[in-house]
């Protein structure tokens, strides 16, 4: 089952969980599934159906921009990583 690595900045929405296993075949489905388990997280990552401009998403080591965007395929062993720009100092 693929998993999503939730960044520290968004873990208030996952009850502190850093890795969440989901059942999905694309990144888009994975985020939707994550949002079902932890409501509100999709709104932090997506805007008008696209990834927000201060967030990058990776499947393994690959940016989904090189894999078809949110329609990038994911397999059982894939780890999806959400990496946001952060601004704390």
């Amino acid at each position: 089952m693929p998993s999503i690595r939730v960044p520290s900045a968004l873990r208030t929405l996952t009850g502190g969980a850093s890795d969440v296993e989901i059942s999905a075949s694309t990144v888009r489905d994975a985020i939707a599934e994550l949002d079902k388990k932890h409501p509100g997280i999709a709104a932090k990552v997506l805007q008008n159906g696209a990834v927000k401009p201060f967030i990058r998403i990776y499947v393994g080591a690959d940016d989904i921009g090189d894999l078809g965007g949110l329609d990038a395929k994911v397999t059982e062993r894939d780890e999806i990583s959400i990496i946001p720009a952060i601004a704390g100092g």
Binding site: R5, K52, P84, A87
Partner: protein, 231 residues
């Protein structure tokens, strides 16, 4: 030849960065804020004696006390004021807690061909980006600062800023020494309590990046510069 560096932000990240670079470069430290009691647990460069004093000036004094050379400027850094706020620097480091300032610093560095480091800390982790002219820039990676979470949104664990600040200072020293190992890469520390190693994010230049293409970029909405130098 003297190496010059500008540090934007004299707080949790700016403190360890400035103190680490104290003997390696002449520093210009820019921050508009004053020291508050709520800062002291994570901004270890300050003591209760600094309460109410300008952060930039007090941090510059701490650098000077360690044998370094630093000028503290009490002002909000903006691209429009960049020339006045150490525009002749070899390297600029963003250690602020403001998304727009981070992108402004990166864009200014790209436009002026300067080395730059963008540092950020939040909750239990942080990011450090190493910018070098001619490679993919910060705005190639993250397109726009809107809604990027800040400490005000999510908080930060006190020791995290020391760790991320140390990495940022080390990155700056490396860039100044000609080390390009991480040029154009983001080191993402997800949770320093459990995973001390960063994820190294490398990426290609974005063809439509307005910073790399030197196209106009939306100006920062920032207050006018107030300059009060010290110590």
């Amino acid at each position: 030849m003297t190496t010059r560096a500008v540090i934007v932000g004299a707080g949790g990240l700016g403190g360890p960065i400035a103190l680490s670079l104290a003997r390696s470069a002449e520093l210009v430290i820019v921050d508009h804020d004053v020291v508050e009691m709520s800062n002291l647990h994570r901004q270890l460069q300050f003591t209760a004696a600094d309460l109410g004093q300008p952060k930039a000036v007090r941090l510059a004094a701490a650098v000077t006390a360690r044998g370094g050379t630093a000028r503290g400027i009490t002002a909000a850094w903006t691209p429009e004021a960049a020339e006045e706020l150490g525009g002749d620097c070899d390297l600029i480091i963003d250690a602020s807690d403001d998304p727009a300032t981070k992108f402004g610093v990166a864009d200014w560095a790209v436009a002026n061909g300067r080395l730059y480091v963008i540092a950020a800390a939040l909750r239990h982790g942080g990011n450090v980006f190493a910018g070098v002219p001619g490679v993919a820039c910060y705005r190639c990676l993250f397109e726009d600062p809107v809604d990027a979470p800040t400490c005000a949104d999510a908080g930060v664990l006190g020791p995290v800023v020391g760790a991320i600040g140390g990495v940022a200072a080390g990155m700056a020293l490396g860039l100044l020494a000609g080390d390009r190992t991480y040029a154009g890469a983001l080191l993402a520390f997800d949770d320093l309590r459990t995973v001390p190693e960063p994820r190294v994010v490398r990426f290609a230049p974005r063809p439509d990046c307005p910073a790399c293409r030197r196209a106009p970029i939306s100006p920062l909405a920032a207050p006018p510069v107030r300059v009060a130098e010290g110590p």
